[in-house]
Amino acid sequence: MIDAGSDRPLLEIGDLDVFYGDFQALFSVSMSLTRGGATALVGANGAGKTTLLRTIAGARAVASGFIRYDGSDITATPPHRRISRGIALVPEGRKLFPSLTVEENIQVGAAARASDAWPLDRIYTTFPMIAQRRRQRAFTLSGGEQQAVAIARALASGPSLLLLDEISLGLAPLVVGELYETLAGLRAAGATLVIVEQDLRRAMDTCDHLVCLLEGRVALAGPVAAVSRDEVVAAYFGEGARD
């Protein structure tokens, strides 16, 4: 498992180029994640946030560059091996399996579990709202409950690095607040988080690092404490580059 005492970054990405056919989605993206940290990945629609998360999870092939996780190169590792090493993605739009029950969705998440995978009862203690709905089909749940199931499915694999893509999309602020409280609990338990979030303030409140993507390139990166909101907004819209 992960050597928690090490100062080595948990994840290092170097000069990553990713394409969709002829279209280049990421240009020489580099970043590194410290253990136990939370990184906000921000940027406009189409900036490449989802692509970057999916590339880390292994769903997209890398044209050039490297991804190093816990000291070893995983650039060409298939998704199920990354999951068993502790990388899990909560995809944008939740992507639950509609013909499976809530519990089955969570069990499927444990298909390639890491050594410290979460047992079902721990998941239900963390998300009491879905415990009563375990026998229902996932698509019959409310949006917030579905998002909780999507996070639970990722937790079932026992992730050390949890990638969360737009988990607050379309949810009531109260529900979003609850989800973020759960994330704070996960972090306290030692998980490293990458959060894609449209709500810049929530992102900056929750995370200690920030990476802003602009048209597939890193426009700004650094500790949240060291960047101002104006700098982030400028990087977000690319205003600095045009001055």
Binding site: K95, P98, V108, G109
Partner: protein, 320 residues
């Protein structure tokens, strides 16, 4: 009394159609592949049964413990070597590949076994029958085929709903891309599904060869009936496939009672009627109900859905 008899005989015949169709339905439901060689693979099963039972000198039933695992292995091999690769190249490639396989199988069988019609040695079961009433006689062989179809469908249903393998299969059928993303290894899932599809086809082929005769060209006709059973029942719905097969069987025998010349035509007309009135088939699976919901009122139009699925098929079959 004739009519009751016709319905009973038709239902039993329908069991055979369902048995051949369930593999087709499963493969399409999970991998979105329409295997045009499915009928020919069933006929291959019959020929393999013929070879094994003549070499060993036993009724074909005794050879099933050899035949079914062999068919399963062939299915896995075909998926890994052929279908999986074809699925990576869009919608048309699997159609062409399975059509080509169908032509190759028929011609190879022609060369190896000649076009003489053959029958399988079903032992004492072949001619045994019993009377329900004076007018209704049921063949043990037909009843066995029907009960086997029910048993196979029940087992498949149980495997799909109760096992961890079944969960992975259903998740993969729902959303291939996400299945991979949550760590399901898609290639073994596809390979085992293809193995089961071919094994059930071979089992159906054994019944076809025991009940009637078969020749190298028999696969095409078999495929058409199987395909119609799948479409009538609702694509991807296993029990729907049984109902579809039974509907075909009853239509065929009841119309045959009136005029034998129109029996097969009536079956095809039933298929066209269902396709016109309920293009999604009589039974819509849970999954497609969810999809219809997800599509925001695309209204369970199965035509729509197939287009959606075909679009979703891009990039399938990459190493999982």
């Amino acid at each position: 009394m004739n009519w009751v008899n016709a319905v009973i005989q038709g239902m039993l015949l329908g069991g055979q159609y369902a048995l051949i169709a369930c593999g087709l339905s499963l493969a399409f439901g999970v991998m979105r592949i329409v295997n045009l060689a499915h009928g020919d693979l069933a006929v291959c099963g019959a020929y393999l049964g013929l070879v094994l039972s003549s070499v060993l000198g036993v009724p074909v039933w005794v050879t099933l413990p050899l035949l079914l695992p062999a068919a399963f292995a062939v299915g896995m091999g075909l998926q890994v070597l052929l279908f999986g690769r074809a699925l990576r190249h869009g919608v048309l490639a699997p159609v062409l590949v399975t059509f080509g396989l169908s032509v190759m199988i028929e011609n190879l069988l022609q060369v190896a076994a000649t076009s003489d019609p053959r029958g399988l040695n079903g032992g004492a079961l072949t001619l045994a029958s019993f009377h329900i009433t004076s007018g209704i006689t049921v063949s043990w062989l037909f009843l066995t085929a029907f009960l086997t179809a029910c048993a196979v469908l029940s087992c498949l249903q149980l495997l799909l709903s109760r096992t961890s393998w079944g969960r992975k299969v259903r998740a993969t059928a729902d959303d291939l891309d996400t299945a991979r993303l949550v760590g399901i290894r898609v290639r073994p899932v596809f390979a085992t599904v293809a193995g089961i599809a071919v094994a059930t086809a071979a089992l159906a082929g054994v019944f076809i060869g025991t009940i009637g005769t078969f020749d190298p060209q028999a696969g095409t006709n078999t495929l058409i009936f199987a395909f119609e059973a799948v479409v009538i029942g609702g694509i991807g719905s296993l029990w729907g496939t049984l109902v579809g097969g039974v509907a075909l069987g009853i239509t065929q025998v009841v119309v045959g009672e009136l005029n034998q010349a129109y029996a097969v035509l009536a079956v095809h007309l039933l298929f066209l009627a269902v396709l016109t009135v309920r293009p999604g088939g009589l039974f819509t699976s849970h999954q497609s109900a969810a999809e219809a919901r997800g599509a925001g009122g695309a209204g369970g139009l199965r035509g729509f859905q197939v287009v959606g699925r075909v679009r979703g098929m891009r990039g399938r079959g990459a190493p999982g």
